[in-house]
């Protein structure tokens, strides 16, 4: 009896040591799930989900504190990808999100800009270039279209314009001819 207790105590101690060691040795910094979620989010840092950026929203999803349907720029695609990743059921997009939005880019009306630097401080990705009392301008290729620069501007000189459709950004449309034909056939039958 005593021998058995001794053996098990010894085993428990050994395993405890191994576990304790590996917990320290193979410690993972941060939350790997949050990391994966963050990689699916569109990184516009717009805050429309109610969190100050994509990373905090990813952490909140990982903690299970919030639904996966709050990302407005990502829309349904991101929601479905998140559902896939987390093994949850897809949920309809948050009521506050108004469908798929076209991609936008901020444009400063340079004649009206007074050089107050307020938008510089608001831009989450440093996409606005300028200095105090000097004209500001948006680096279009870096702008995520988050609209965070609009409210601080005292002279309302920033406009959100849709990205121009060019030869390079053009995509072949989805061939929708298949559906009407089948539908027509079924109607005829």
């Amino acid at each position: 009896m005593l021998v058995a207790i001794a053996i098990f105590t010894l085993l428990a101690a050994i395993f405890g040591l191994i576990l304790g060691y590996s917990a320290r040795r193979f410690h993972v910094e941060g939350d790997p799930i949050a990391e994966q979620i963050d990689h699916l989010l569109p990184q516009s840092q717009c805050g429309q989900c109610g969190f100050p950026g994509c990373r905090p929203y990813a952490e909140a999803i990982a903690a299970g504190a919030v639904e996966i349907n709050k990302c407005a720029p990502g829309g349904e695609t991101v929601m479905v990808a998140l559902a896939d990743l987390l093994g949850r059921d897809p949920v309809p997009l948050d009521a506050a999100i108004a469908g798929e939005q076209p991609k936008l880019v901020a444009v400063i009306d340079e004649a009206r800009c007074i050089g107050c630097t307020l938008c510089l401080q608001a831009c989450p990705v440093d996409a606005i270039l300028g200095a105090a009392k000097h004209m500001h301008t948006v680096i279009a290729s870096e702008c995520t279209g988050c609209e965070l620069c609009l409210p601080p501007c005292p002279v309302e000189c920033i406009a959100m314009l849709p990205l121009p459709r060019t030869q390079r950004s053009w995509k072949w449309p989805y061939p929708d001819a298949a559906r009407p034909a089948i539908a027509a056939q079924q109607e005829a039958a």
């Binding site: 963050d38 990705v125 030869q167 298949a178």
Partner: protein, 566 residues
């Protein structure tokens, strides 16, 4: 599969050709447009030169509105490695640089340089011709090809100079010249080989030297006997034993790069790979002729042969066209439209696309304007459900599973389409042609391809935005920490009394110390005879001002001096 098909080393004595799986035997409709010799198109009054006529970055204009340019002068230079320059096709004035309709399936406008020709057609000063190309360094020749703005003229429009830069670990043994021209109706390469076989052979020799290949194989389909005879004659005249004209069976799409390499060498280009990986470089015969012009004659690429054909044009023909000429003017020169015209297609019936209107310029890659009648190109019947007959898989020359790709593309599952090697699809249209349900298969693949590219681009952009956001957050944190530490340091300084001035205000002591330092410095400089430099070479007015200021200061200092003397 028989043993010989697996063999990859070509026989030196009697060249054999290999077959590729799939493909179609289509009515070739070549005779319509080969009846008339190639003639130069009339000089247009206005030309539109799109900045993007090639794969890669658009070219950057080096002229501005109002500039006078001469024929062959560079008007837009290549931007970055994957790009091609554009030269003025005739002399005249740049009247605009702005959006204009371009030949693109989207029907969108893009930036074009608009050139009003002055009718003189006067040449600019051109670089020296290099008839001695064989003695020159391949890098030099490659640079000349890049200067000439040459892109693949077979249709893909990939900048040629890049294709001619073999990697050190991928030596090139065979140069393949593509004269197959397998797509029905198109005859521009056929007419080029009939009319200018010497230029093609010359280009073959230049290209062979540039890539360091041992042998050149010129593949021509057996439905072009005149071109074959002309090319054979030109090769014999040149007396070059390392150039060989190989007659290949007519089968669509044997003019596809990978299919032609397979037919001529028996070797397969790996999936997602390029021919250089198996030691082969493939160029179109028209590209070879353009390279010969650039190197041997010092001419940039400013024109090409375009086929005008179909029952929709009155006199089908081939025209030597300046790049930038509007399609409308070419149709007029081919006798205009007939009443039977149904649409205007750029390219051939299998891979071309319908133009929304004919007010678009001819680009470097535009090989054919096809105006079919309704009988030639009937509107596609309504698609029916897929019956899984598998004929598309039999027809596919790449050995893909079109049916599977169709299901996944239709379900918008882009990852799955790529599992079935969507990006190996050459969009030849064989699968859609044989489909008994008339499903527009190629359209699904094109949709899936562009969608996958867009997604990849979005992912990259998101990655960049994340990086910038993280950098910004880190910077703000660092600035905040620096500010705090500065404040803390200052506070500590103010709280601890300094040893020098134990009594009294530390601020006043600091000011006193600074004053003493300044006075000591001034005295030291004065002792060396150094005065402030801004008092040299003064104008009389400035001197008066200085004197007045000195007088004021003395007046102010006088009582103090009097006191101190006392």
């Amino acid at each position: 599969m028989d043993q010989a098909v697996r063999q990859t080393v070509p026989q030196p004595t009697r060249r054999r050709v290999w077959a590729f799986d799939g493909g179609l035997h289509l009515p070739d409709h070549k005779l319509e447009s080969t009846g008339r010799p190639v003639r130069p198109a009339a000089l247009p009054a206005r030309l539109w030169l799109p900045l993007q006529q090639h794969i890669g970055e658009p070219a950057q204009p080096v002229v501005s509105v109002g500039d006078l340019v001469l024929k062959g002068q560079l008007v837009a230079r290549p931007k970055g490695a994957v790009s091609a320059g554009i030269h003025a096709p005739t002399s005249g004035t740049i009247v605009a640089i702005g959006p204009h309709a371009i030949p693109h399936p989207s029907g969108l406008s893009a930036t074009c340089i608009e050139l009003a020709s002055d009718g003189r057609d006067a040449w600019a000063e051109l670089p020296a011709p290099w008839p001695d190309f064989a003695a020159r360094d391949p890098a030099e020749l490659r640079e000349r090809v890049r200067w000439a703005g040459i892109v693949g003229l077979g249709g893909a429009a990939f900048p040629s100079s890049l294709k001619l830069s073999p990697r050190a670990d991928q030596p090139i043994h065979t140069l393949v010249l593509n004269g197959a021209e397998c797509e029905p109706y198109i005859t521009c390469d056929d007419m080029l080989m009939r009319g200018h076989p010497d230029r093609v052979v010359e280009g073959a020799r230049v290209l062979r030297h540039v890539v360091g290949a041992g042998i050149v194989l010129i593949g021509i389909e057996d439905n072009k006997p005149e071109a074959i005879a002309a090319m054979r004659h030109a090769v014999a005249t040149a007396g070059d034993a390392r150039i060989e004209v190989v007659v290949i069976p007519t089968k669509y799409p044997s003019g596809g790069e990978k299919q032609l390499i397979r037919v001529l060498t028996g070797a397969e280009v790996p999936s997602h790979g390029i021919p250089a990986q198996i030691g082969v470089v493939c160029q179109n015969v028209a590209t070879a002729a353009a390279v010969a012009d650039a190197v041997v004659r010092g001419l940039p690429l400013i024109s090409r042969i375009v086929t005008l054909t179909g029952e929709g044009v009155a006199e089908p023909c081939n025209l030597e066209v300046l790049i930038g000429t509007p399609a409308r003017e070419l149709v007029a020169q081919a006798g205009g439209y007939t009443p039977r015209v149904a649409k205007l297609i750029l390219g051939g019936p299998m891979m071309g696309f319908a133009l929304p209107h004919d007010d678009v310029p001819i680009t470097k890659a535009a090989n054919c304007l096809l105006a079919p009648s309704r009988a030639e190109s009937p509107p596609p019947p309504a698609p029916l459900p897929c019956i899984r007959c598998g004929r598309c898989a039999e027809a596919c020359p790449v050995g893909l599973l079109p049916q599977q790709m169709y299901w996944w593309a239709r379900a918008k599952d882009l990852d799955k389409t790529q599992d079935y090697n969507l990006f190996d699809c050459i969009e030849c249209g064989c699968c859609a042609h044989v489909c008994p349900s008339h499903i527009p298969l190629v359209q699904y693949y094109r949709y899936a391809k562009t969608e996958a590219w867009a997604k990849e681009q979005e992912r990259r952009k998101a990655e960049q935005a994340r990086h910038r956001h993280e950098t910004r957050v880190a910077r703000l944190e660092r600035l905040e920490a620096e500010r705090k530490s500065k404040l803390r340091k200052k506070k500590e300084e103010l709280e601890t009394p300094t040893a020098d001035a134990p009594a009294g205000d530390p601020k006043k002591a600091a000011i006193q110390a600074a004053l003493e330092r300044a006075a000591a410095k001034k005295a030291a400089l004065a002792a060396q005879g150094v005065a402030p430099k801004n008092t040299e070479e003064l104008t009389p007015a400035q001197q008066r001002q200085v004197d007045a200021a000195d007088a004021r200061r003395q007046a102010a200092d006088a009582p103090v001096d009097a006191e101190s003397r006392d």
